[in-house]
Assembly symmetry: C2
Homo-oligomer: 317 residues x 2
Amino acid sequence: MKSHVIGIDIGGTKLAAVLADKDGNILQKARKPTESEKGPQHAVQLLLGMVDEVLGLSGLSREEISGIGVSCGGPLDTKTGVVYSPPNLPGWDALPLKDMIESEFHIPTVLENDANASALAEARFGGGRGYNYVLYMTMSTGIGGGIVANGEIYHGANDSAGEVGHQILLPDGPLCGCGKHGCLEALCSGPSIARRAQEAITDQSNTNILKLAGGQIDHVRSEHVLQAARNGDALAVALMEETAYYMGWGIANLVNILNPQIVLLGTIAVAAGDLLLTSIRRTVAEMAMQRPSEAVKIMPAELGDSIGDLAAISLVI
Amino acid sequence: MKSHVIGIDIGGTKLAAVLADKDGNILQKARKPTESEKGPQHAVQLLLGMVDEVLGLSGLSREEISGIGVSCGGPLDTKTGVVYSPPNLPGWDALPLKDMIESEFHIPTVLENDANASALAEARFGGGRGYNYVLYMTMSTGIGGGIVANGEIYHGANDSAGEVGHQILLPDGPLCGCGKHGCLEALCSGPSIARRAQEAITDQSNTNILKLAGGQIDHVRSEHVLQAARNGDALAVALMEETAYYMGWGIANLVNILNPQIVLLGTIAVAAGDLLLTSIRRTVAEMAMQRPSEAVKIMPAELGDSIGDLAAISLVI
């Protein structure tokens, strides 16, 4: 009877609600802008309406839904279901999101931070299928991560485990968004790659990166660096090699600490493919210990744009 | 009826077998030198005899023993129970230790690497009691580690998880025993502290470290540095501060990645106490993210010399 689940994916710019069967097939979807400037109450009302919408579209009753999974930016508390001021959701301060959803629908609701939920989705439905020890790392605006061991998210003491992007590699390095210096994220996130490119480009630089950015140095983004590197631009290739070195160093440390069977790298690594992955793998082989190094594969994440929906429903399947 | 357990602790210099009740009270002990130069068959024969010895002393029959726990240097395979050439046990190459013990006694036997087994012992009987997420780090000849989550050892893909001493902090730093450069172990193990002291002492140094080592630079050990630092020796204090900085940096990374409730530090940290711990804690607070940093305590390990016996029996209690 309780044959289906609902997933809610909360981002800083868009909200999604989906209805899926127990095999992870998504049957109905609703999408709306978060309009985060209107505050959390507004967004939650939108979400509640979207849940009703996917239920209505499916023709199913609430009694046929076994659970609601909610993927949201952290920090948050998975036990109490309270969200604590994610950077991308201003005003979501100590918001009892799980209670708000459960009191409306009377369906058991599971709240999880988006990196962990995405890791679980990759482990269940993506590149981590068949592996017991999966490490997933986002590589976009930030570098987040999630650890899945034997099908379960590794939460740690207060749901903060997996902050793999904030291991510090260069204590005297560039300032990170977290307030520390030289975190992996401050070297290899999209904005960090762009910043390193902006710093490297001078009037004397023989590079196409600036041209791809419309000639404006402050418009340079990681996509331009990647595109130029694909065309063999020497500076861009060097920047991508540097990115791969830092990623490889950070992943080597994680391989020694966590001994994963597979490391799945998101967004930028998916876009760059072997341009990054070949050098990352070589660096990990050089810097990690032999035994855990032999046990690990380093691969692009597989779920692409569908990861948000699958992240949410994987929490309740 | 199966009211007791047996523990076997295999070190490079000594062997131990103990018999304990299910509460972890050690009732009988046997100790012998490993005589590792005589090879694994000799040591295993000694061990089998020592198991018989503690059984005989206890007056219990084999039928009253529920399990045998074996703590041994890694690498090893916990599933198959095979030991693969630990650095301190020359010739123990693909030794089917679990099978050798089980075929003799017909008692279920669990093999585990010593750092993981020690972590479990600290979690069950030592400083980790009452905590769900425990990270134990040895700090002696090497820097090993074990991760215990919800009472279970985190093994990873091939029993290599927890190699926290081989996270690389300084890729251009000193050579580590593992063959890489700038691992935490190559900076903060006992021999590494001694090496840094030997490099720092010149004819012009105003330090007592050399005197404590009998005036011979190659006799300087970490104990001399610690003793001099206790007496306020400026060079020794600086060396201990440097040690605390690297330990704090490495632990901050582990706090971000693993989000432990407690980090327990062995041997050198136990001996040094606040001389190291105060600076380690300050560095972790500076370098780790706020949320996981707030959740963690950094404490000396509690089990001292009894950890080997308790490590072995904790595997089968």
